[in-house]
Amino acid sequence: MIEPKGRGVAWTEERGTSDEGRRRLKAPRRRAEDTVARARDTPDQPQPFAELGLTEAEYATITRTLGRRPTSAELALYSVMWSEHCSYKSSKVHLKQFADKAPPSSALLAGIGHNAGVVDVGQGYAVTFKIESHNHPSYVEPHQGAATGVGGIVRDILAMGARPVAVMDALRFGPASAPDTGRVLPGVVSGISFYGNCLGLPNIGGELDFDPCYAGNPLVNALCVGVMRHDELQVAAGRGPGNKVILFGSTTGPDGVGGASVLASAAFGAADGVSAKRPSVQVGDPFTEKLLVECCLELYADGLVVGIQDLGAAGVACATTELAAAGTGGMLVRLDAVPLRDASLGPPEILMSESQERMMAVVEPDRADKFLGVCAKWDVRAAVIGEVTDSGRLVMTWHGETVVDIPPSSAADGPVYHRPAERWAGQDALAADDPDALPRPADGAGMRAALLTLIGSAGLADKSWVTDQYDRYVRGDTVLAMPEDGGLVRLDEVTGLGIALATDGNGRYCRLDPYLGTQLALGEAYRNVAVTGARPLAVTNCLNFGSPEDPAVMWQFAEAVRGLADGCAALGVPVTGGNVSFYNQTGTTPIHPTPVIGVLGVHDDVRHRLAIGFGREPDGEPGGPGAARAPGGTAAARIVLLGRTRAEFGGSAWAHVLHGHLGGRPPEPDLDAERRLAALLAAAAEAGVLSAAHDLSDGGLAVALAESCLRGETGCVVTVPGDPFTSLFSESAGRAIVAVRPGAEAAFDQLRAAHDVPGVRLGAVGGDSLVFAGLFTIGLDELAAVHTRTLPALFG
């Protein structure tokens, strides 16, 4: 919380932790509020717009729009609504490409602009999913920051009318061995565990990676997916004059006041220090959220809701302006009717509060009692705080006096900036620093050591230390969860209809080339969905970047968005929504550009799913989402490498982990090949010719084979073609390994030819070692020991 410096800012006087402040909190006195009338009378009163993150030009625009200076409450409202976080003012001009270049898709029921996009997955079901950042709060207070990130994205999904059914988390931290990572990572994981488990949502996957660029700025991106029937879609619009506006859920307190503008719009870690901002992080109450979920679903089922909006960043300010702007256009709100948990709060703080677990609904007057009755059943507090009007104005009163009177669209639409973008001057030198110059292992022993180093490195090591803290089973429909490539959830027990999800991002590739790097992330997420046997349908994204005021960062951003829009057009999957997180930097050093891409796929029958483990039958036992398993199954399955392998090491895990090197060109994406590979995998899954499938990514073929062996507790014997080092460690895109069932080789070859996917027979599943014929052998016991010891040794 930035303390405004000027006197006469009534609404900050009673804050603070001095003894005097505490006495005042116990016995709040009524303050003289800054009303619209007073604003007219005192046009020259200075206001702390700069401290609230508004520029002089923006403040002038507000004054011009209103024809007077804003009141304190209006200033608070505009400051949070026009923050980068809420207004997308720097990114809007680029993001429109997602709509402009969108491929024709019959699957999209609601797209960008809603709380989350909605996709038709067949059989009358619709699915909504979205990923959102909670990076800055998670650095300040890792546990609550991450917890409330889960809560926020779940309410986004709930507001669309869907029942949330699963969550995922894409996490990135500073060096694994850095002391601060030891503070941030365990807190983030415990926060996600605390909130998601209590809420009863399975956590089915995500990412965990480490890089020095995230040391002062971890990335905590939370995804939620929800399911509804087609006719259950809800809208975030306040329609119908006379309809009641109801705020329900938790009470409103001082937590997170100004969080949206202060934490996201000011460069993080600025001179005024982190400690001054600490109170800005919100505190989560997952049990109340659980009640809110069940309450909302009953309200929808009973047809009691005209429009609904979740309260996230910018709380009541955002919900009222957006509902009003998208609806009839006017709204009257009595701010003194908002249930408070701190009686000392005034209008500006009520508007800015980011207290969690709140929703706002628009309800027909004769149904309000029924609405309140459902809330009472679920022990959810609810209050009628206003009504929809046709005045075209958003008017708010405080004990009878008008404190806000604005055209709602002026706050909801916000400014639009065409920020200067300029290719970073060092980009060519970075590209010229080719990893070909790095020393490579000369023999099998050297490659063996390199593989062990890779699978024991923090980013590629076994992640059970993290994922064991999440409940992947709750709700009873999880078919695949980490460490599988994608999460898979069953929607219909009878037909077997299900949805697959994966998120991917690679900051190193994007640093080398943000356009190609973003397409590589898209391709990997698409492939991770495809290797479960699902058909990819739609895309969400969380775009994590440095400051948009830095032209080099803006160039990275523009390139990434262009890459994603072009990539989605090439793959035929539309972007349904997303989130932009700017100001991810320490001092003036931005993080690697890190777009995290989420892909949703549909599985016609989850009983045909493919999993990564060798030696396991996909439709028998074992094969569930768990880790316990018995050996057996397809001892003689043939392993085939799909896709083309080139010598591509720029940004690779090998260069990063073994040499601390980042330079050269990232692998070349081939989205057309990606599309053919996905079609082949879906057809092969349906035909039942495969017993395992695993995508190739960080660490290449060697790491992928090691993971499939470890997951299935079964070894393999393979002979690699061509240059052994390239075969083992190159990270060429668009590749996967599959285990073909004995006797199904001819059928699979036919499918492969029909889909025009190149394949190389590598060897067979079996034994208790990973054997690269003529190069080296690693026993599964040694492989498992190296793979599993890293994270427990680091984090306890």
Partner: protein
């Protein structure tokens, strides 16, 4: 229960009514957020005022995870569940050993049979005083034990106990997540539900 051939009926926590059920399961979850001691508030739910006398009169009752914690708080079962030894939530597929196959909920198993069922809890460490533990061991009230390592620091690796009559069983692992190979690690958990259905129909 449906997979075991019975009709499941939801009971509302605020009702003083068991709807004439033949057996009751207190499922897992986070009653009242577990902000206070797990199960400490839920034991006072109105429905418990009906459930406790019914359980004492012989109604088969199974408490899973949070349900187990509630049964301990309600003193239908001895002992208590405390924070895991590692102080972290643990989700893991575990090998369990059925120690007592004579209870209302375990007759479908053989004594000594090993089964694979997921555990997922943050406060699953079973604790009781030495005398109680000795009693439980002596009277066969230890129903289920962790068979490969002790995941949470439970006394004597206890994963589940029953009352003296054997109709009330509390279990930390989740057998409902082991009812088929598609959504769980095994179908080994079905036996708990099949046991009670067989008893009710007998």
């Amino acid at each position: 229960m449906r997979l075991a051939g019975a009709e499941p009926v939801s009971l509302w926590h605020g009702d003083r009514d068991l709807s004439g059920v033949d057996a009751a399961i207190l499922p897992g979850g986070f009653s009242y957020g577990d902000y206070l001691r797990c199960g400490a508030i839920a034991r006072f739910s109105p429905v418990m005022s009906e459930l406790v006398p019914a359980a004492r009169a012989g109604l088969p009752v199974l408490g899973i995870c949070n349900g187990f914690q509630i049964l301990c708080e309600a003193h239908l079962l001895p002992g208590a569940l405390t924070r895991n030894a590692g102080l972290k939530f643990v989700t893991r597929d575990l090998r369990l050993r059925v120690e007592n196959a004579q209870t209302a909920w375990t007759r479908a198993y053989r004594a000594g049979q090993q089964i694979v069922v997921p555990l997922k809890s943050g406060e699953g460490a079973y604790a009781a005083d030495p005398a109680t533990l000795a009693d439980l061991e002596g009277s066969g009230q230890v129903v289920i034990r962790y068979a490969s390592g002790n995941p949470n620091g439970s006394a004597a690796s206890i994963a589940g106990v029953c009352n003296a009559a054997g109709n009330v069983v509390g279990l930390m692992p989740h057998p409902e997540h082991a009812v088929d190979g598609l959504t769980g690690p095994s179908a080994d958990g079905l036996g708990f539900f099949a046991s009670v259905v067989a008893q009710v129909l007998a």
